[in-house]
């Protein structure tokens, strides 16, 4: 049996069978996320007994003991931030991969990380900004500016922001911004120090102010993202077909980029450039639920925080009393995971 005929006969049947299981599957992943979140609150670089954690959670107000401070002021905001940021990166990656039809697309690919980094170092050097609570806003602005620039450059010309032009514009803008950042960091120790902290990608040291600062943007973006399933399915058939089906391709693309800017911009601002989540999780989701973006998006939204929080818990427990940044853990386990996915799945079918 040839490959094409196997496709033709199997895909619809599998898709149909899958759709029935996908709803409960998503619910099961939701439960798994709750379990992982519970782990993230009860485990960490400090060993705190389960009963003490539960007591602190029951009081909901710190009684001044370090166990309740650690639980309520460190772990709870960290976990909530991990859930939101993970979901945002997962969904942003899925949307970008769909809209650019590029299996390697993620936030870093579109200039978001480099834009945020460039604005951070400019804020530190020119405006004298210090501390993560302040410069997340510069990072956010930088991410949005970079993404807007990539989109604007790619939109030049009659055919609009095609996948190839987006990829090229992303690479060009990234290169330009990276050289600006490097140039500043080479001559300014303060900028280097601030950037070094931010650039690893970490959930540590971000507390309630950072969480409440970015949460509205992330929640808004997550809600909006779920409306893109059908449009991305159309785009996956190719632009001409999508147009033929009555889709307004340019408008879809612009709206998708706006949502990605919100999600990936706020997430990257809050935690630094966290790698692999946005790249790998959409592929995992695709592996589980096939090519239908109406499922890929919610699956990415739930899978990504599971991956992010598990990696974070691992980094906190493995290195106690120190901690490994989640960006480092993801780099170490993410690379082999991606290789495995490439090896065992049909990655190019975006």
């Amino acid at each position: 049996m040839s490959a094409t005929s196997r496709y033709a006969t199997r895909t619809p049947a599998r898709g149909g069978r899958r759709a029935i299981a996908l709803g409960p599957g998503l619910a099961a992943l939701g439960v798994l996320l709750a379990v992982v979140a519970f782990l993230s609150i009860t485990m960490g670089s400090r060993s705190i007994g389960l009963s003490e954690v539960l007591r602190a959670l029951g009081n909901l107000d710190t009684d001044g003991s370090i166990t309740s401070t650690v639980t309520l002021e460190l772990r709870v905001p960290r976990t909530l931030l991990g859930i939101l940021v993970g979901a945002a990166l997962g969904v942003a990656g899925a949307i970008l991969q769909g809209v650019t039809r590029n299996p390697l697309a993620d936030a870093g690919f579109m200039g978001i990380n480099s834009g945020a980094a460039a604005f951070v170092v400019v804020a530190v050097t020119v405006l004298g900004v210090r501390g993560v609570g302040v410069y997340i806003w510069f990072a956010f602005a930088g991410a949005i500016a970079a993404l807007a620039l990539v989109y604007a450059i790619a939109s030049l010309g009659r055919e609009g922001a095609t996948p190839v032009k987006l990829a090229l514009a992303g690479a060009a803008v990234t290169a330009g911004l990276v050289s600006v950042t490097t140039g500043i960091v080479m001559t300014n120790v303060d900028a280097l120090n601030e950037l070094r902290f931010w650039q690893v990608g970490s959930l540590a040291g971000r507390y309630t102010p950072v969480l409440t600062g970015v949460a509205p943007f992330l929640l808004l973006g997550l809600a909006a993202s779920l409306g893109f399933g059908r449009a991305l399915n159309g785009l996956a058939l190719g632009e001409d077909t999508a147009r033929g089906l009555g889709q307004h391709v340019t408008r879809t693309r612009a709206a998708a980029f706006a949502v990605v800017a919100l999600l990936a911009g706020a997430a990257t601002a809050a935690c630094g450039p966290i790698i692999f989540v946005g790249l790998v999780v959409p592929h995992l989701a695709r592996l589980l639920c096939g090519p239908d973006y109406r499922w890929i998006l919610p699956y990415s939204m739930v899978l990504a925080p599971i991956v992010l929080l598990l990696a974070d818990v691992l980094g906190r427990v493995a290195a106690a009393p120190d901690e490994l940044q989640v960006g480092v853990v993801l780099g170490v386990i993410g690379a082999p995971a991606f290789v495995a996915i490439v090896r065992y799945s049909r990655l190019s079918e975006v």
Binding site: S45, R46, I66, T69, G131, V189, F197, P321, E323
Partner: protein, 335 residues
């Protein structure tokens, strides 16, 4: 044009060299004897020269040490801008060529034009290299070592030993270390040590920890790798030795913010590179667990001159500040 640059540089350099060739004998530095000169480097090797070196290029703190004995280098390379480098910020650097103001970046072309006959940099026993030639320094910058012999005192267990080493080096280079205004620094330092010892003897129960808070975690210094802390310990100050320093970078024990309260000193020696009078209150505001260190909550923190001291004079100033802090400290805060 690009292809020509190396050739032009070489030509320019040889013109400079030819033009200045005869001048080194005119006696810029009064030397008791012209030579031969030798000095036992921190690496254990004996560095030799036919004549006493007079055109010295030195790393920042080492330059400050030599200058405190009246030996003025012709060039300096530092790890940060000379305006902020704690060793250099109060020195008159007129007439000295600045060859680099960032770690690992030295302008060797400029250095060559100075025709140095000695490079002075601390010897780092753990890295087996002199300052400016360590692992990670630009390959281009490392070529500094090819311009002249390199000598320095070993970094390691004591700032006093370091200061004494540079006193010896300066003396070998012709400095009159007994000159009253030069010797005064050492006297001030010895007085400061006496006062410090008296202060610690008066507070036998006082413990301190050297700390450096950062946004994502906090660091507790390991005195084993901080010579000034070893000196303070030898003068009776109980500096806490952290139990599990980072094996890959044993200068510190890294603690997550969840474990900020692992050590409870009575007084915090705060990394001088980030200390400000308002730092303690700021960190208490932004790190929920910083004030779980009782000394931090009580505001018991003093700047610790971390990893830069080279001279008797600087050490005396810093030591006097520490003496005041020890006298003012409550030895029961951390209990």
């Amino acid at each position: 044009m690009r292809a020509w640059r190396p050739i032009l540089a070489v030509t320019a350099l040889s013109v400079v060299l030819a033009g200045c060739g005869g001048r080194s004998d005119t006696g810029e530095t009064p030397a008791a004897a012209d030579g031969p000169w030798s000095f036992t480097d921190g690496s254990g090797q004996v560095v030799k020269a036919d004549k006493i070196p007079t055109r010295i290029i030195a790393h920042a703190g080492e330059a400050a040490a030599l200058m405190s004995f009246g030996i003025k280098p012709v060039g300096i390379y530092s790890d940060e801008p000379v305006k902020t480098d704690p060793n250099l910020r109060n020195l008159d650097l007129t007439g000295i060529e600045i060859l680099g103001e960032e770690w690992g970046k030295i302008n060797v072309e400029k250095a060559a034009a100075l025709r140095p006959d000695l490079i002075v940099g601390d010897w780092w026993p753990a890295e087996k290299a002199h300052s400016g030639m360590e692992e990670g320094v630009d390959a281009q910058s490392k070529k500094l070592a090819e311009l002249a012999p390199v000598a320095g005192v070993t970094q390691g267990k004591s700032i006093v030993a370091l200061a004494e080493g540079y006193e010896d080096l300066a003396e070998s280079l012709g400095a009159d270390v007994d000159k009253p205004e030069i010797a005064a620094n050492k006297t001030r330092f010895e007085e400061a040590v006496t006062a410090f010892k008296a202060a610690t003897a008066g507070k036998p129960g006082l413990t301190v920890a050297a700390m450096s808070p950062a946004d994502d975690k906090m660091y507790v210094a390991n005195p084993e790798y901080a010579p000034e802390l070893l000196d303070l310990q030898s003068w009776g100050l109980k500096v806490i030795n952290p139990g599990s320093p980072d094996p890959g970078f044993p200068y510190w024990e890294n603690l997550s913010w969840e474990n900020a309260d692992k050590y409870q000193p009575d007084l915090i020696l705060w990394d001088g590179r980030s200390f400000t009078p308002t730092a303690n209150a700021e960190w208490g505001g932004k790190q929920p667990t910083w004030f779980k260190i009782k000394a931090a909550k009580a505001g018991a923190a003093v700047s610790w001159p971390a990893f830069w001291l080279h001279t008797y004079g600087d050490f005396a100033i810093e030591l006097n500040k520490l003496t005041e802090a020890v006298k003012a400290a409550d030895p029961n805060v951390g209990n």
